[in-house]
Symmetry: C2
Subunit: 225 residues, 2 copies
DNA sequence: GCAAAAGTGTTACAGTTACACCCATGG
DNA sequence: CCATGGGTGTAACTGTAACACTTTTGC
């Protein structure tokens, strides 16, 4: 074999290569993952082959966009799965990404193309090693939550302190003390109050906004509870 | 195109796929990386194509073995680089791994095939995006050092407390208090004393051994200074 | 006996946790 | 006026950081 030339608009794909995307979102007060129906009652992570002309991350972003309509979500490479045993009769390299989309992204957007949201603790039977991939993505998400500001990527533009706290509790699966949580998250300086209040049952709550300029991941570990 | 069948001993390779290995070791009291000479005064990370029949990690382990003679070193997948722009005229997906080999592995073993050790803070001109890959591997190594027992993979089977401390200082690039370091590392219970002493200049030092059974990465973060 | 590295505790400080009541609104 | 969720401070405790001298060996 020899080197393959290609031009910048080459639409052919590498046969043995795909990207997969583990798309997380908060839906109905639960952390959910978007899955596509497959033949044989199995579900699978959304994924696509990679064009010669596009980067891996672009391919993942396109797959994310076509399912959720969200183009600028948080997207991070997770791991590359490429063992010969993971699929019989064919070699397949899957570069897995994980994505976080805000809770206020249109619910039904994800349900085009036979896709559905499943709570991470209540998954259907999954194709290949996709269960393992989701488990790893979840571990990484929980882990990152503790030393970075990644949790805000799951929230709408503005949110109340209680909403952030519920988000953290939902992902980490444990209760957090309200006063300690507020003190810390405010001390970290990564959110700022807006003039607006959210009114609902009970006393109205101050709405806050995330400050992406704040250097969160740097230096300070375990920023949050 | 269509699906490619293959059998378990298929030696053909995927043309656009390679593994790269960032091999770290402590040499002459510095943290060094193994690089191979390339045409045009450039140096590159050791790497190889992936056979259809072998896993990515196997391929990385083989590349590591053939350069260092170490078959059971610490090996971890780092990141997959696959943007079209990283090499002109050809699409190349590089799955990068990083490896740690003990300081007492034979020095010259790495120097077969025109390879040489370079201190991480004094690297030669590098091919493609390999400088970026090394920088990322180093960041990850430093990071992991703080919440896992990965540092022991760079040490011989037995070592003195001062040797571990110097290892940490070398990688993190900062001084650590001797008494605090010892107290913590002993409290963590991940090393145990051996009957042996190491004699040299000054008072002989107790030799310790790493206890791989100790659950290090679990639960406790920031185990070390 | 002196140079060189090993070994050893205590105190001050900072950060974390635990904890309970009043406030503002809608119905 | 009451049910609902929002908002607030302090004290005990735990972990971390700073710090200097004695011990054992080889030369």
């Amino acid at each position: 074999m020899e080197t393959v030339g290609f031009d910048a608009k080459d639409d052919t794909v590498l046969e043995q290569l795909e990207v997969l995307v583990v798309i997380f979102s908060l839906r109905e007060s639960r952390l959910k993952v978007l899955l596509k129906a497959q033949a044989g009652d199995l579900w699978a992570l959304p994924g696509r082959p990679v064009r010669l002309s596009s980067s891996l991350e672009q391919a993942a972003a396109e797959e994310l966009d076509c399912h959720t309509g969200v183009a600028d979500a948080y997207l991070e490479q997770l791991y590359t799965y490429g063992d010969p045993e993971r699929i019989s009769g064919r070699r397949l390299i899957s570069v897995a990404y994980f994505a976080l989309i805000p809770a206020d992204a249109p619910y039904t957007a994800g349900e085009a193309y036979g896709a559905r949201w499943f709570a991470v603790d209540d998954l259907p039977p999954l194709a290949m090693d996709h269960a393992e991939i989701i488990a790893y993505a979840l571990r990484r998400l929980r882990y990152k939550l503790e030393y970075s500001a990644v949790g805000f990527q799951l929230l709408p533009e503005t949110f109340t302190l209680s909403e952030i706290q519920r988000t953290y509790e939902m992902i980490l699966g444990e209760k957090i003390d309200k006063r300690n949580f507020r003190r810390r998250i405010l001390a970290a300086g990564i959110i700022e109050p807006t003039p607006a209040l959210r009114t609902g049952e009970g006393r109205p709550a101050r709405l806050y906004r995330y400050r992406p300029d704040a250097v969160a991941e740097v230096k300070a570990r375990r920023l949050f509870p």
